[in-house]
Symmetry: C2
Subunit: 222 residues, 2 copies
């Protein structure tokens, strides 16, 4: 068991992760078409792995299959956004509560370090870094909650609003981005699960309502 020269992941897994990140961090715009042949070219892989990655992302709601045989990045409706808000408003606090009951001091340090990085990204106006770090912060929280099924559900929601989030943040700049993480980390330190859950709930609401407002604005101007 060297652990060093371990086999690399299969191609379809790599393609999946690349495409997933592109959706999650808004490299693909909402409504944009995704073609198999386009990806075989741009990612330099055969069609079988690409097909599998696309099917997976469709199943997760990250991509949309359009009746005919076209695939695209979903364009959210106002109702969709409301649903996402409702779902996250329940899932995220629930997971934060569980995480507070289970978190170790090492993990708290880890989360704190991530939040420092996050602040740095906001300060530098680095949108991509903000999106990535913010996601990883929440994702780490899901893991600590030790509820793999609920974590899967919460994780899947990010894929659905990722593209829209990028658009919204691109318009508003990185200054007034939500970050209630400090409240939450303090609550976790104090082992006050209820307060941690409340803090996360506010973080979620603040971020998601921004998406909703931005959507309503763009709907009005169009």
């Amino acid at each position: 068991m060297s652990g060093a020269g371990e086999n690399q992941l299969p191609t379809h897994e790599l393609i999946y992760r690349q495409l997933r990140d592109q959706v999650l961090f808004g490299d693909l715009a909402p409504g944009q078409a995704v073609t198999i042949q386009g990806l075989t070219d741009s990612l330099g892989a055969g069609m079988t792995p690409v097909r599998e990655a696309i099917r997976r992302l469709i199943a997760e709601g990250a991509l949309e299959f359009q009746g005919n045989r076209r695939v695209c990045v979903p364009l959210l409706s106002a109702d969709n956004i409301s649903e996402l808000i409702v779902a996250r408003q329940w899932l995220d606090p629930h997971l934060a509560l569980r995480a507070t009951e289970r978190v170790t001091l090492d993990e708290l340090d880890e989360l704190t370090a991530m939040d420092v990085e996050l602040d740095k990204a906001i300060g530098q106006g680095d949108l991509r870094a903000y999106l990535e770090l913010n996601y990883r912060f929440h994702k780490r929280l899901y893991e600590i909650a030790e509820a793999p099924i609920l974590a899967d559900l919460a994780d899947g929601l990010w894929l659905r609003f990722g593209p829209s989030l990028r658009v919204v943040c691109g318009r508003m700049g990185t200054q007034n981005l939500p970050d209630k993480h400090k409240d939450m980390l303090a609550a976790m330190h104090a082992r006050d699960a209820e307060r941690a859950a409340r803090a996360i709930r506010e973080d979620v609401i603040q971020g998601m309502e921004q998406v909703r407002r931005s959507f309503e604005l763009s709907a009005a101007t169009n």
Copy 2:
């Protein structure tokens, strides 16, 4: 435009649906291995469509990828079951509440008819029919709620406990299966959304706790 000889669905979609039903209604036992070549033989399709169907089901949590290149039907742990109970206890009542606000009289008749069929299946001890009708009843409710994302989440949970549910019901017989549907239908008729939500919550708890108890028993005897 005859509309008669419309094009049949693509093979990968057909394979997906067949496999999905097999998982959902317990034709595949928990822990059972699922091989690509086995399916190409038994379903008479090429490997590409089979691969795509399997990836999709893995993404939905209906199948499990086991590190190496093996795939199997997931074996639930006690913690997994607790998570599923928590998730359904929130999702199903929420969707029932929305459905009550939107349901038409025709749809109520439709649900009532399904429940009659369900009673018939229970009376005849037809387990497969019970599982299928019970699923379709809840699924129809999800559709009526007009919340596609939340419905997707709820729908995905069925795939996770489908195999275990079959095992449990097989052990207990069809007599004391949960069916709080009559309470719920009455509440929907009266447009009492809160009561409908409570009824569904009891239905869910009753069914899922049975799974949990059965799991604990089998864990104790093993």
